[in-house]
């Protein structure tokens, strides 16, 4: 698995799109730090971009990589190596190269700004953690969708829909249900609903860490009230971890049964 991971990573990190993605975060980081002149504010602005953009890029990269390397995957399948090693290796290669662009792209501007000598380093760190989790989660979802769909157009469509659903539609449905069922106690429902959406969860994680109640939104406030800040952070991290492990296991089990 490590061998496949190593070469997928080499391959991807040298692709043009990785450079563009890296450059985007570099520019974003420098510009926002320059405009905001405050790490906290920059972290919030960047968070709003990161929690939508990393899932989108993860989805697109994951689907594209899987379909593009189809023939090469067939060659690998004929080698003396486990199926799960091939797919988990490729999955980790894609996720790590995207995470690398994210960490490096945002890390450099913040390092120049002196993040290492500031108390804000943990706030910035949690933003990166959330971004890395989201990359891993959405690349995994993209792999699952493309493993299940031979047809590239369909696979791409479903993957984008999955992103759109979790990034936009989910919140809409959630709000509508809060209005419709406003006569009932909804705390538990709202908490559960948040756990099932990694994007919401990441937003709450970062905002809990930053301790800005004004931006927490209904679910975030519930989270804080119900669990408190410390436990809230732990629970959201743990849930994000589950969100990564379960799809990885699905990649493994789907690929084991598939015909190529």
């Amino acid at each position: 698995m490590l061998k496949i991971l190593k070469y997928s990573f080499y391959d991807l990190i040298r692709s043009r799109w990785s450079y563009i993605y890296l450059a985007f975060y570099l520019i974003l980081g420098f510009v926002l730090l320059f405009l905001n002149n405050s790490v906290s504010k920059a972290v919030i602005t960047i968070m709003n971009i990161v929690i939508v953009l990393t899932p989108l890029i993860g989805t697109i990269f994951g689907v594209m990589y899987h379909y593009n390397s189809r023939e090469f995957t067939e060659l690998l399948l004929a080698q003396p190596i486990r199926r799960s090693s091939i797919f988990i290796g490729q999955y980790l290669g894609v996720s790590l190269s995207l995470s690398f662009s994210l960490i490096f792209g945002l890390g450099v501007p913040f390092a120049f700004y002196g993040i290492f000598n500031s108390m804000e380093i943990w706030n910035f760190g949690i933003l990166l953690v959330a971004g890395v989790f989201l990359s891993f989660i959405f690349v995994a979802l993209a792999f699952i969708i493309s493993l299940r769909n031979e047809n590239k157009i369909k696979g791409f469509g479903y993957a984008i829909l999955a992103w759109l659903f979790l990034a936009v539609i989910y919140d809409g449905l959630f709000l509508i249900s809060l209005v419709v069922f406003s006569d009932y106690p909804l705390d538990k429902f709202a908490l559960m609903a948040t756990l099932f959406n990694p994007i919401d969860l990441s937003r709450i994680l970062v905002l809990l860490k930053l301790d800005i109640s004004a931006l927490l939104s209904y679910t975030g406030a519930l989270f804080q009230e119900f669990f408190g800040t410390g436990l809230g952070i732990s629970i959201s991290l743990l849930t994000l971890f589950t969100w990564t492990v379960v799809p990885m296991w699905l990649i493994k089990s789907i690929s084991a049964r598939k015909d190529f």
Binding site: N68, F72, D259
Partner: protein
């Protein structure tokens, strides 16, 4: 070497293989022939473990291959389409495959590399190579090992005449070494030139398994191409 028992494979409603029994124990070249959709590729992919059978079993060197992967150490495979990671160089690709197969990296002055004239391209990215050059890389990868079984899927597709001659020589050399080589192809002249035995598939079943001479006799034709065409037409009628 390979024993296939009652192998069936269905893709949804389509039956690709319907109860294939086959024993390949001879050295030399076995050509798998048949019209499009007769199950050639499915048969080969089943042997390689890429397609999971719906029923039946496959034994390689006496052991069932189902759920196993390490038996592939003893098989060389030349896929039909050559596509590799775009941003790796040929040298890195070789290193990767050797890494997986657990042998040292290919030498720069390797016979195969100079035979196909790839030396000047070794540090170029695979994404920048032409289709023909990628096919040469594909062939070198497959022929770098000397395993008892070799599987070639439509090996002649997209090759220039010079490389085609080299490929035939390489196959014949492996044959002399006493390896078993399983080839699928539509090119009958190639079959006549290199094959010792023919497996003829029709609608997912083995219609004929025997020598080239016998199939000509069976169809009553002197020419293999016409003999095969005759069999297919008879089966359709």
């Amino acid at each position: 070497m390979i024993k296939i028992e009652g192998l069936s494979k269905r893709f949804g409603n389509v039956s690709a293989l319907a109860g294939v029994d086959l024993m390949i124990d001879t050295k030399g070249v076995v050509a798998v022939l048949g019209p499009n959709g007769s199950g050639k590729t499915t048969l080969i992919k089943s042997i390689l473990g890429m397609v999971i059978p719906s029923a039946g079993d496959i034994f390689f060197q006496g052991k069932s291959i189902l759920g196993n992967w390490d038996y592939r150490k003893s098989i060389d495979y030349l896929p039909q389409i050559a596509r590799f990671p775009d941003n790796l160089t040929i040298r890195e690709l070789f290193a990767m495959i050797y890494d997986i197969r657990g042998k040292g990296a290919i030498a720069e002055d390797d016979e195969l590399i100079s035979l196909f004239g790839l030396k000047p391209h070794l540090d170029k990215k695979l994404g920048n190579l032409s289709g023909g050059t990628r096919q040469k890389v594909n062939i070198i990868l497959a022929f770098s090992y000397e395993n008892p079984l070799m599987v070639l899927d439509e090996p002649t597709a997209g090759l220039d005449p010079v490389s085609l001659v080299h490929l035939k020589d390489l196959i014949l050399k492996r044959k002399e070494m006493g390896n078993t080589i399983v080839v699928t192809t539509h090119i009958m002249s190639l079959v006549e030139e290199i094959a010792d035995q023919i497996v003829f598939l029709l609608e997912g079943k083995i219609y004929y398994y025997g020598t080239v001479e016998d199939i000509k006799k069976k169809a009553g034709k002197d020419d293999l191409e016409r003999a095969i065409a005759e069999i297919i037409m008879k089966a359709d009628a």
